[in-house]
């Protein structure tokens, strides 16, 4: 029973990471830095709340959340691909921008500085957090299926081949006729949509939007991407691992065995260790962060 509870909670925590990390893998494999995952998630959460609130349907909320991520993804793409702006700066700007925008419109739409009213989510009103609620949430299934799908997309499709080509050697890709800019536009926009679904899951699962509710999850997802060496399957496993550590910490909270702060450090410490190459070297796509000239 305990194992089952542990597993369910791990999945519940992992879903937003899985969405965001999948988005991160696509964008970074195409050579565009994904510091924006946090902002994408937050915009997805907010737009999903708006959609669900005004329509009364979680499905409409989901679509709105995806649309929010799409918009932010396009903004990221236009700034860093069309205008060749520094991708790191753009990432930070978009993350700050989304925090500001969601706070501002939280005031405008709900006259609150902290949270939205309760909005419909998936499953019934009193679904709780058991296995039934989890199973009745289509985003849970989508998130779990996403990992193998992304593996297939990156390694088994022409699109995936192009993504990897423009991320490793854009000039070579261009010389054989791959439209580098277009592939990157697609990859970044897709990453916006995917990460925003992670945010939408959070908002619909908690039935409301709260200020800065993503709370650094986008950066954990980025950590998973790097720790998973830019591979969709490994990144997915890293997400599950980070989620399991969080679950363990929540379960152990009563015991106060390990301070929660130390558990929260795990993804970040592991990422630094992975980058430093102490346990298996983590090498990013060669053209990551470089605007194509």
């Amino acid at each position: 029973m305990i194992v089952l509870i542990f597993l369910l909670q791990t999945i519940r925590i992992a879903i937003p990471y899985l969405f965001a990390a999948s988005g991160g893998v696509v964008a970074e494999r195409a050579g565009v830095v994904s510091l924006t995952l946090e902002g994408f998630m937050l915009s997805g959460a907010f737009c999903a709340t708006l959609g669900s609130h005004y329509s009364g349907s979680a499905w409409v909320g989901l679509l709105c959340g995806a649309a929010g991520g799409l918009l932010m993804g396009l903004l990221h793409a236009v700034a860093s691909i069309r205008y060749k702006a520094d991708q790191i700066v753009v990432g930070i700007a978009i993350n700050l921008l989304v925090v500001g925008i969601t706070r501002f419109f939280l005031h405008l739409a709900f006259d609150s500085s902290s949270n939205s009213p309760r909005v419909p989510g998936f499953g019934g009103e009193n679904a709780g957090s058991g296995i039934a609620a989890l199973a009745s949430n289509p985003l849970v299934w989508l998130g779990l299926v996403l990992v193998p799908v992304m593996g297939w997309l990156i390694y088994r499709t022409p699109f995936g081949l192009r993504v990897r080509a423009v991320g490793e050697h854009p000039l070579a890709a261009e010389s054989v006729g791959v439209p580098v800019a277009r592939v990157r536009y697609l990859a970044v926009t897709l990453s916006g949509v995917l990460a925003s679904l992670g945010g939408a899951y959070l908002a619909l699962d908690q039935h409301q939007f709260t200020d800065q509710m993503t709370a650094g999850r986008g950066y954990v997802a980025l950590a998973a991407v790097i720790f998973g060496r830019w591979d969709p399957i490994r990144a997915g496993i890293a997400c599950l691992f980070f989620a399991a550590a969080e679950t363990l910490q929540i379960q152990l909270q009563g015991l106060e065995a390990i301070p929660s702060q130390f558990v929260s450090m795990i993804p970040y410490l592991l990422t630094i260790i992975a980058l430093a190459g102490i346990v298996g070297r983590s090498v990013p796509p060669a053209a990551l962060g470089k605007a194509e000239d």
Partner: protein
């Protein structure tokens, strides 16, 4: 170094545009056009946000100016915020001059403030300020410098990309400090340490009484001057800029690139750490969890708008401090979060305008 992770080219600090006939004009245009474009973009977005709230933009902007530059208290608050942002802006700018992106100023700022508070707590009450304040200053620099040195060393030794490492270290440093304060050092019912016994710096008196502005602002201005001198008048500063422009060429010329990276990140972290003095010594006289409150991240914006120039950084810090204090001034009419949106817009617009302006100038130079 050849195996090092490919690094993002930072916004190249030196001018490349300008015609042969008027290099000065090209340089001026390259320096000033992006911030002007950014401010115009921010005003357009600001107008839309204000209108969406059913208010008149003119009135709101007037309110913003009156609450910041229009009275002594407001201006004192602006100066207080300028002080912290000058330190974090200098930190990011110095690292960028070395071709490194320090996103860890937030954690370095907190670590600097924390260590300064620890020294202030350890020193016995009655320690003369002449002794206590310099000790706290050193502690802040060491605290921030230690956090900054880690990504520098990891990059030099293993080629780990400093952007990711600094982001991750932010979370680690803040979580660690949160744990130390929450578990060992806090005053019950709060998340701050007890008051420091020694090292407090007086506030600015006179018209500024009541505001948080304090004499650490002098340290900020002096530090900006010192950074300028270091970058442009010393051999090490020259090496640092050479590495930032062209690491391979610098290495070929005999510069130890890894050493420069380590030094640059440590100094950058120390600069951010000094920013903690403004809150700890000058304002509250204790360390409080979360006091950094985004000033480290805003330092990136400050460095960007200030074009990585110490003088530019001071003015950019003043600009961003005005915006964030201005948010409080307009809050009764339009949510103060409007300025957060505007800050984001400014950063984004500068990021877009810098390469775009450079390209335009280059095209013009080619045509001429």
């Amino acid at each position: 170094m050849s195996t090092a992770v490919q690094q993002t080219p930072p916004a190249a600090p030196e001018t490349k545009g300008g015609t042969a006939a008027s290099p000065l004009r090209g340089r001026l245009e390259e320096a000033f056009l992006p911030p002007i474009v950014a401010i115009l973009a921010a005003m357009v977005v600001g107008d839309l946000l204000i209108l969406s709230f059913g208010q008149s933009p003119g009135a709101v902007y007037r309110l913003l100016l009156e609450g910041t530059w229009g009275n002594a208290y407001g201006f004192g608050q602006v100066l207080y915020k300028t002080t912290t942002l000058t330190f974090t802006g200098l930190a990011v700018a110095l690292a960028l001059r070395a071709g490194l992106f320090n996103i860890g100023a937030e954690g370095q700022l907190a670590a600097g403030g924390f260590l300064a508070a620890v020294v202030g707590l350890v020193l016995p009450a009655g320690t003369p300020g002449l002794l206590a304040i310099p000790l706290c200053i050193v502690a802040a620099a060491v605290g921030g410098g230690a956090v900054g040195a880690v990504p520098g060393a990891l990059k030099a030794r293993f080629g780990a990309h400093e952007v990711i490492v600094t982001i991750m270290l932010n979370f680690i440093a803040l979580a660690l400090l949160n744990w130390i304060v929450a578990a060992h050092l806090h005053v019950p019912e709060t998340l701050h340490t007890p008051d420091i016994h020694a090292g407090a710096v007086p506030r600015l008196g006179g018209a500024f009484t009541g505001s948080a502005a304090n004499w650490i602002i002098l340290l900020a201005v002096a530090t900006a001057a010192a950074v300028w001198f270091y970058l442009f008048r010393t051999r090490r500063g020259y090496e640092l800029r050479a590495v930032g422009l062209q690491p391979d060429a610098a290495e070929y010329a005999g510069v130890r690139v890894g050493g420069v990276w380590m030094r640059a990140m440590a100094v950058s972290g120390a600069l951010a750490g000094l920013g903690g003095l403004n809150f700890v010594l000058g304002y509250k006289h204790y360390y409080e969890d979360g006091f950094a409150g985004g000033s480290g991240f805003l330092g990136i914006a400050v460095a960007l708008v200030g074009r990585n120039d110490p003088v530019g950084v001071v003015f950019a810090a003043l600009f961003f401090a005005t915006l964030s204090q201005g948010g409080l001034a307009i809050n009764a009419v339009v949510p103060k979060q409007m300025v957060e949106v505007l800050q984001g817009v400014v950063i984004l617009a500068v990021a877009i305008a810098v390469p775009e302006v450079r390209r335009l100038l280059r095209t013009r130079a080619r045509r001429a």
